[in-house]
Symmetry: D4
């Protein structure tokens, strides 16, 4: 119970706070930072969930100080996205820290045991999409999911896609990652029987317009069950996939 | 067992098909229609799932003939989206048919009992977003979900959004529907602890560019757990939400 | 004091609500509708401020029922924007109702006395911009501002702009309305010494792209003191202008 | 030999035209209409090739007068694209005229015998793409090609695409027609071994942007052998396909 | 009185200038630089207002020479925007010069006492928006405003926004700064009772399109009282905010 | 001499206006409407120049009242652009009025004798561009230019373009009008030796984007001497062409 | 015969695989990688066809390992596109390897004898388009085509285009390469009697938008027989051209 | 008389060329390079006109070799645009060569005497536009025009624009150069009585989109007599301006 709430309740009971003052304090409560942050409530439900630091544009010092603050309040699992090798090196002494260079992502506190409903399958159209895929894969693993990878499955060589049919049919959630024309999302969406999260990538040249074409194409997917996240947003896709893979009756 | 496969197996055993011919037949098998359609496999798992007819641009006669074909093969539950009142009237005599004018959607075969993990909450920013919301709501109900509606919750009157906090926290999946600047998706995404599917709508004028602004804004949502579908695609959002609300261990 | 707060306080004091329950109730308080709506607080400060109904896409019946609800809770001044003559006719019997056909706007409860710091000057580039200007003008008047109009002052005939120099120099706030290339905003911004709110309009053809060109041009205005609202948003410009024209020490 | 050339040659030989005058006449020759139009040279090679009238925006009278001019100079085969039923009715008395309402195209002079290298296969993603497909099909037939149609083969139901594998492998040229995300082009391009001409269509809604998304996606096709024509340009695709299907050693 | 005007008046009175010549001179007057610059008139009203140098693309030498010219005519307060640390170092010897590295802005002549109606509150969605915010903050301070900062208040963590409710309700003008989906503007606009100037920033990636998405979203804000300036234009927002915060009866 | 100037001069001489007052009056002079409008000065130079009314969106009554005002101050030649046949009929009784239906333009006061340096050649790519061409042609004639027309000269049939080589080489100014890919501007620009004004038209479909493609293509013309006006702006092209065709030593 | 198929056939015949198991295995066959890749089937038809490695973004090591894999399975002809000189140097020891620096393309296994129907003519508008042209030229040669080059033929100097008329009329396929306004495609399309593949290039500045303008213009070409590939995609154009140039009766 | 024509004429007269062969040769004549290049014809009319080399992307060696070729055929005046200082240094030994660093343009052969109708006035909105302006200024001078410069005349300080009124009214052609919102073109167009060529520049940030906003705004100029060239195309504007300034009766 935080101080504000404590003072209010005790004051009311002791008479130190009048009814009128109490009303004002209650009305102001939403505007005081009571620490009812979403992450906290979430953590009450499932232990071991990491907090996330978006590393882009932050110096090692800034990242370090955020990590310190999190550790101080007891957080042992931290995910740091979008950091390059150099900045990751400066974090090497963190407890149980490991850097995944392909996905440019660091994990502190080790990987949890998978506790989801099933497997998160990560499919890419080409090899150039792998950095985005690895950001997704490491994120999903850090959030407690069993992950399978099926890379370079572009639909222009349909047999490459179909050769992963078993995985596609067994997955609980699929993350479909593609640049250029983004057709992978529709084909996977049509083959699978589970939610598909499509990630357009900035891979390509010319009229790929740094992912805009893939984004628009995925938006227009004629396959049901496909939703889309921002260009190159492997983290976001994995976060949603993990939520879906941890669904339970409410 | 379909004829092609039957002929192959029997021919091989009887010698009427040589090994070489068999190889060719097996290689061609994927390109023959063996009826392994996704919908069929899906239906094996959960009875009562409707098939869907996208009604836009179809005449009542065309819709009727598709319905007839579906009924012939035993389908009792059919969802017909994007039909106006006039075309719906021509379908009134279908068994257990009901037309929902706000969502411009018709359901044949009655609504199933909800059998999902929890509730699908449908939130809109304004009253003009209701047609898209009702397309989503009726679709979700027809797919076996308990649905709650929270309309006109735009973030410019934040108390309107927050007054639905109980529903937001209890939902299994949320569909957030908004035109104009689409900020609802980020606010709901930040308040909730479950997957959020954002639907941009073509509501607005000027620089809303018929939903493009809302689409781009939702794509950029800074809240984790938000994915996006096409402009005005209430059906697609509900289809994905239903998949998520019916997740089970695999 | 609303019931939720009352129950909380009395329950705490009587012991009917435990400290633990009280904490939960206080945490939930922001998410309960406590009626702290912006409009209400606003009205506490300045009597006579109208509530606004955005009429686009609403039937006369829908508008009427919103009006009734507002009247029930004592609101005497109502602004109804974006209604055509036909729908306005259906509201003629409202108390003290007047329809302004150029701005497609209706006012119930009569116009208040101007009580702002000075004059809101509304300038348009051409005669085709007048509907947007009149939406702004009537809105500003209904919000308690003295309004001056200077129409057809396009910068291609600079003498037309300059002939309003006196008004420009005396205005408290200027609303500059223009389609096509939107240059009026920069010229007015350079000549004036007060806040300028620029409204791009969808007037024009070809590469005006229904106001996008004017919007982008106004965004890039090289004159300091210029801010921009949505295409054709005369109401929004007037609302902001009125806020500025009613500034007082805080 | 036209008059200008005849006069030049004869004048030179008779001395009526001096060398200096001849030089001037030769220099000016390209700028005189000598009737060396592409269509004419083309016709020298293959008899029976029709001339084409783009009917959009032309009155029946205008079309009739162009037809008359063509008939006067001996043209018996004429293709009239983009005419609706009403205007087509006004042309019914033309010799051997037939109107194809799905493709909104009329053919005068009957269909020629196919004389191409093989078959032009026309594939569409959905049923809404059929009007564009029929414009292509009738054009290709009128230009002397055997045409096969495979409609409603969208990749979200991959078995529908694959069930046409025989046709895909046997075709000489494929025209792949799709709106929305346009993924059909990549899948067909990957499955086939012949030139594929992709036609984006304006079918779809929301972020399909009237064909722009399909156009960009097709441009980015990761399958080799795919080229693209304008949105809804069934005629242009068929014209190119026919050229390709009539290739011969040069 | 400048020479041109002096000569005109004296010449007329002495007869050295005829009536006809006088008319010509008067007509030509607007086209002679009489030094009636806006800034000068402005300065007559409020002493201490700085002149502004837009530093982008200027060498230290160019900036120095503009500063010298301004100092020569008595200007003691100068604001230099968009200069990096290196160029700022070259200006260190200016009287009472201070460089603010976060906002990349330098101030010569010290900060004035705040003399506005109230406080300018500067709110950002994230920490990456701080450079734009500091450009705004230092500008507002240099223009005589009391400034409060509330950074990292993004709406995905609504409690972070709401925890600044006191500041939001007490502010005279709010500058809301956000990249990505720009939802902050609508939320702040809905919570506050004062003019809100929204600044889209180029923060983000993928479909943020370097601020375009935030710009369009802010344009479409459903909250009244919100106007928008150019992407990253912290200076412009502060300039307008200062104008508003210095409003007085006219 | 207008009253303002007269009062100033006489007041100064009589002493009724002090030197200080005079200075203020002179400073304000540019901001008083002294009637130095461009059109008027222009008319001083060349008699018979018409004034122009942009008819789009104006009722016959509005046009009539503008015409009356112009006639009252002696204007005999008036050009009314963008009026349809119906509105033109309502103006039939104007003196010497003629309506040109193809260009949707009306001329009052008859056509002047051509007095330019040479010929304005108007070239179109197709027959659908003719309405824009006729707006240009009639405008140019009304402004005193000899006009030649070369319609349907699209570069896909290059001989059609080249057959007008004589006209192209003899023209003083060329207006090149084309929709779709707008290639005509570059070809004409390369063939001619005079200024070329390119007019993109909204003719086309699909990726022509209502003239945007032609506009951008013309902007990028690799031929020197080509400048561009707005989509479908035949009037603007002719106005500029007429200025160029009436150049004289200054 | 691969193992999967072999096991199926032999198992069925021996009784080790039941009919039910056989059906399942046949149904799964398409989803097992049977090596029916397009390239392989293609190679059955024409010996010597190279496989292609898209080199962009690959390290020399990655390229080397793909090459090794290809060589292992007997491929002697390999095309490596989009590699710079430095990476090419690391491949110099490959058998019969040659690097073409202008097109940034390497060929292993030597050039085949041309065996197409005729000549592939590659035309560029300017000299800056040559890198794209050389990517196309070397690709076409490596795929067995006789290639002619006609560079710097921009239509603004039409005589430059026309001076290649002989080549244009004799070509079997033409690749027309241009940036800026892309008019070359229409002019070549109008002059030639064979399929034209247009390649927009990112050459230009300002409103060329890195090839978008050329792409859109080429899409709108008014000449029949023109199809388009992605910006700067010389390889894709050549691949399609080679397919067309190797057409035979099917 | 060139060889082709000579052979044709002599052959015809001598009988070495048959009538049939002659017809073919005459028909092909337009497609043979007869050297009727535009520049050459132009030069016949006015001596001293320079040829132009577009230097962007060319090495000093390439430029040198083009210069040599031009000098060989007697050209003494050459303009080299878009070369940086370094490449210019390598050309210093050319006869009478001078490099203008602001406009990044070099002139060989000295500047001609101005021989146009009047003055070309070059106006810029800001100082950042000067590089484009100097490209225009040096080009215009090299083409034989008297040039006046009026820089930093942006319309946000209208007195700065108006202070150049004398120059504006006396100019024969005006080149108006501006980035950001491009309003200068409309204001100048409204003030002047001569052709105005507008040049959008890529100056600005945020929603200036590297000149696109200025381009669109200038396209929509409400002032008659304004035409537009590509972003940053100072050369093109000057070339057109020079053509206009050298108009004569034809």
């Amino acid at each position: 119970m935080n101080d504000y709430v404590k003072n209010l309740i005790e004051g009311l009971k002791s008479g130190a706070v009048s009814e009128e003052e109490a009303e004002v304090m209650i009305r102001k409560a939403p505007f005081v930072d009571m620490g009812f942050a979403k992450v906290d409530m979430h953590r009450a439900v499932r232990q071991g969930t990491p907090e996330v630091i978006y590393g882009a544009g932050k110096t090692p010092e800034q990242i370090r100080s955020i990590v310190d603050a999190m550790m101080t309040r007891g957080q042992e699992h931290i995910l740091i996205t979008r950091i390059d090798e150099e900045r990751a090196a400066a974090l090497e002494d963190l407890p149980d820290f490991r850097y995944y260079p392909q996905g440019k992502i660091g994990v502190m506190g080790g990987m949890p045991e998978p506790d989801g409903l099933g497997t998160v399958l990560i499919v890419t159209a080409g090899t150039s999409d792998i950095p985005v895929a690895e950001e997704a894969a490491v994120t999903a693993e850090a959030l407690g999911n069993r992950v399978e990878r099926a890379y370079d499955c572009g639909v222009a060589g349909l047999h490459r896609t179909l050769s992963h049919m078993d995985q596609i049919m067994k997955a609980s959630v699929i993350i479909a990652i593609a640049g250029m024309e983004g057709a992978l999302a529709s084909v996977i969406g049509g083959l699978s029987d589970c939610p598909v999260i499509a990630v357009p990538t900035s891979v390509g040249y010319g009229a790929s317009f740094e992912g805009l074409t893939a984004l628009l194409a995925m938006m227009n997917s004629c396959a049901s069950g496909v939703t889309v996240v921002n260009i190159d947003n492997g983290f976001g896709a994995a976060y949603s996939a993990s939520m879906i893979n941890h669904m339970k009756a409410k």
